[in-house]
Symmetry: C2
Subunit: 367 residues, 2 copies
């Protein structure tokens, strides 16, 4: 299993209900604004979608605040990641990160360099105590960019949730802009940071080197709908991507979802309130679990943890016995069987998971 | 506009309702069996689809009657066409046919040979009068296969609706099977022929050279949902295609549609009854329009016509004025501004279109 979210093999296909802490989906669920208007998609089923997706582009333009021609649409962020990587012969991948970057690069014979996150101690005042942090090695990224066509990195990064420090990143941005290199920033989780300032969306119009990947998937809780998009002012790169795409790649349900959820201010605010509240509590509670050695600081809706005295495989099985699916993180490059990732869910389910982990403490001690 | 189905530019985006005779969708509309169970898709929205799509493969296996490992799933037939073509360095395209074959081949630097349909007079007894027919040039196909890795053709073919004569095709089938060439048969419209015997699905298990393309799109009237599939017993080709695909390429609504519509016997029977009844009537009525010189025999739910005394562009505009969108066929290789394609719809709308064409007769005469 190379991805989270498999609630099928041990769950649905066996008629068993599992709580999924392995995929990072907003626990507030599908926005009502979409559900209430799903009839519009049902009515649209018998016709082909607009091959130019004019209304979807308008909706995105209003949400992000940039011209409609900056967008390219994908059947999930997966398609966008795949195609933007396909446009390059060599890329630097900042790791550990979403495993599809590497899979896609290999698929397209794109040669890969890696820049590893480095560990340091954060003193984030809002968390009231010290936290381990995995953060970008900006110097290393800049050095390695010399030999490749560009870089791909997550903001916030998956699986750990660190974000780009814009002042530290400025040198990289200027270098890439001047040297015709691409900076692909995967912002699939950006809305969970709770602060628009963390996104690079407002810089797209000034820097042609930027290519930002976004999706409805995580924040609007619709992984089943398949809708991702890329944002860039580099018309040449966008053209290359579009030429690789198939017609009608966005289904009518995704079209209608984009129409409603992107302007669902109530949902957006409620979600931000939830994550701002639950994230520090969840982090603190994980810190108190005896077999968790390190809890990494996160700006996302997921937490990377380093285990002690138990492997990720064993913890996965013990949690599964109790009905929880967690994410073993050993297939992220640079991590090993000491690492797991937990999604942050609503208060109730977070507490249940913490309770489960607490109960496992004696068993872990005895091996 | 290279495809039919654009009811947006002059219709929806201007708040105007148009009757679409340009895309060939079953007029019986979305099967109720799907609509009544759409809640299952809504419930599935917040989780990722099963990355292995085990239930969908089971549904297809039962529908087609072959092993689940013979299938590859696509975000519409468009994805399947694209990727199977991507696996070949040279292909023979039987034309005129769906324009995406050529677009995809060029995209992937797949070199193209063409085999043109040839015109002859059919004496189909069921139609009670002579009909022009465009049919495959089997000899030409066999000859040209020498120089390419395989052939792609429609069954029934789009835009004219002829089908493969299996006894004539046998030589080609044996030649390809013995010489490791691929035969890609696009059967997107096969159910409209009303007879399973016209399909090559039952031969897939005996001939590894066969690769059949199908979709829910046309017969089950869900172009908005995006679900296509390929069928082959060539495990090596299927593996190559799957390696090119992105994870979670099928959305949850398509998953649920496949679960219900494929076993909706009532819908399937009603659809076959409709097409068997309306097709000969529509053909006959088109034959009686003065500015239609030729009506080509079709086994599909669409009719190719050759015009006389009026261009497709002018007829398109005149029909649009009356609220009908028709398909100009001049961008099909081998056809020109004398050709148009009409979808076959329900009795009522067919009659309205025929009425509209009848009314245009005097205007066409005066130029």
């Amino acid at each position: 299993m190379i991805h989270g979210g498999d609630v099928y093999t041990n769950g649905i296909l066996k008629g068993r209900e599992l709580t999924d802490f392995s995929s990072n989906i907003n626990p507030l669920g599908v926005p009502k604004s979409f559900i209430e208007n799903i009839g519009e998609a049902v009515d649209a089923l018998t016709r082909y979608p607009d091959i130019q997706y004019r209304n979807v582009l308008k909706n995105l333009g209003e949400y992000i605040g940039c011209p409609q021609e900056y967008f390219v649409l994908g059947n999930g962020a997966a398609e966008i990641i795949d195609l933007v990587i396909a446009c390059h012969k060599s890329l630097l991948i900042v790791v550990p990160s979403f495993v599809e970057y590497e899979i896609d690069a290999k698929k397209w014979n794109c040669s890969i360099e890696y820049s590893y996150l480095k560990e340091n101690i954060s003193e984030d005042a809002t968390l009231k105590h010290e936290h381990c942090e995995l953060s970008y090695n900006y110097k290393d990224i800049l050095n390695k960019l010399l030999n490749v066509e560009g870089v791909i990195l997550g903001n916030p990064n998956n699986p750990n949730g660190n974000i780009i420090d814009k002042s530290e990143f400025q040198k990289i941005l200027e270098y890439c802009e001047s040297n015709n290199k691409v900076i692909i920033i995967d912002e699939a989780f950006i809305e969970f940071t709770g602060d628009k300032q963390h996104s690079f969306e407002s810089l797209v119009k000034y820097y042609k080197c930027l290519f930002i990947i976004r999706a409805l998937t995580k924040f609007f809780a619709v992984p089943g709908i398949r809708f991702g998009y890329g944002i860039s002012s580099n018309a040449c790169l966008l053209k290359k991507i579009r030429e690789k795409q198939n017609p009608w790649n966005i289904n009518c349900f995704a079209e209608v979802a984009a129409r409603y959820v992107l302007k669902d201010e109530l949902y957006i605010e409620k979600s931000k309130t939830w994550i701002r509240k639950e994230r520090p509590i969840f982090l603190k509670n994980l810190n108190n679990i005896s077999f968790i050695e390190k809890v990494f600081l996160t700006y996302g809706n997921y937490v990377l943890c380093k285990l002690s005295g138990i492997t990720s495989e064993r913890l996965y099985k013990l949690c599964l016995d109790k009905g929880f699916v967690i994410r073993k993180a050993d297939n992220f490059r640079g991590l090993d069987k000491q690492y797991v990732r937990f999604a942050i869910k609503d208060k109730d389910r977070n507490e249940k998971l913490i309770g489960c982990l607490k109960n496992l403490e004696p068993r872990v001690k005895t091996g």
